[in-house]
Symmetry: C2
Subunit: 271 residues, 2 copies
Amino acid sequence: MHSWVDGQPADTSSLRDRGLAYGDGLFETIAVKSGRPQLLERHLQRLAEGCRRLALTADQSLIRSEVLAYAAALGDGVLKLILTRGDSLRGYAADPAATARRILLGSAFPIYPPAHAEEGVRLFPCATRLSEQPLLAGLKHLNRLEQVLARAEWRDAEHAEGLMLDAAERVVEGVFSNLFLISQGRLLTADLSRCGVAGVMRAEILFQAESQGIPTQVADISLVQLEQADEVFVCNSVYGIWPVRACAGMSWSAGPLTRKLQVITRALLDA
Amino acid sequence: MHSWVDGQPADTSSLRDRGLAYGDGLFETIAVKSGRPQLLERHLQRLAEGCRRLALTADQSLIRSEVLAYAAALGDGVLKLILTRGDSLRGYAADPAATARRILLGSAFPIYPPAHAEEGVRLFPCATRLSEQPLLAGLKHLNRLEQVLARAEWRDAEHAEGLMLDAAERVVEGVFSNLFLISQGRLLTADLSRCGVAGVMRAEILFQAESQGIPTQVADISLVQLEQADEVFVCNSVYGIWPVRACAGMSWSAGPLTRKLQVITRALLDA
């Protein structure tokens, strides 16, 4: 179906858009099932937080109603919402009165091999490191060259995702996923206050685990901790959870806790 | 005048452009005088280096001829060239066979107060720090949220530019300029191997200084070195050189070496 720009069907946007010029904006990638955007409240919550941190003025209730209307028209697939700070003629200074441009794009649901979820995936150990920028950490903003470079490191189908570390060799996330470790029954995911994208599914899994009485921790993760983990999985709001079976010389088995959370997230995405 | 996309007049570009989605591309901002793009070889050289480092396939001779044709039509003003990795449907993986999309935008020459060049400018001491990413350092790529955040720190006309440090408090550059110090007759500018944009005018000034027998150095710069410098100036390929007279509690006078280089760069931009 057609894309929308500020609520109107369109396939193009202004060449002066600050999203193109500077990556001055945010995005959300939302799974849509039977016309319903999944995990919508979490997506909107993260977007509003991003708007606050980037001082991007946007009508959040208008965004909500457009996402609902677009999703209803899309049916099944993936809805991508891009918010930019509108146009600029030249220069980094923005008009403080500018309101965000809303871009909605639809695409078919990606088809992943069922083995990814069933048997687990192998991660490519990316050499590209995430840089530390506390002002942008956690946000799903449009400055994504690190992910582009990391994703270009492998092309074979053997690796379904990549593992990204920061410059201090801390284990942070996947290229398009967050990462969880399970050690002695406890769920551990990286602290994203210096770098990384705070995924909607990551937040939902932390919430679900706590609801189930599973201990959780958000902290820095070392490669040793990764290697010694009992179970490892990656997650995002489109595919849910994939167990990780290997990365470089390390290997793990999909254990009971991963399977339990996988059932929960699958139910959420299929709701 | 109209913008061009891949050589054709256009005012919009695809919503699926990776430049918009990820900032996956590069740009150049070129001064145009009487139809001639100034410092063209240096701009094209940096662009080609950026293409190489981002593995962006582009026809460099086609870019050259389009820039020349567009500049001739523009007459006087600023030509902005954006190169993106074309369209993507979804996901960070790029088609390895993709060639870059060429976007050319023209605008009027910005009008700066003559006092900027004559009496010098005051720099705003930005709190936004530049993050370290050696894979992207030096490139004029489209991931510019740090500059957007830094430029939003001040709105008064008293500050013509901002001073940006890295996370280790090293002095790196302006928000849209490079920075030079002059101490005991020697020209010093920051090493940009960890962060920063290696400006075309910075390269030209280093070249011109060496041609004139002025000693130059590219190295890390501390705040103490900045404070103790005899002269300080900022530069870019549109306005040339502005002496810096103050930043926070520090102050300097525009000295003879700044004035000498200012004459040289003015002649280059007016050529």
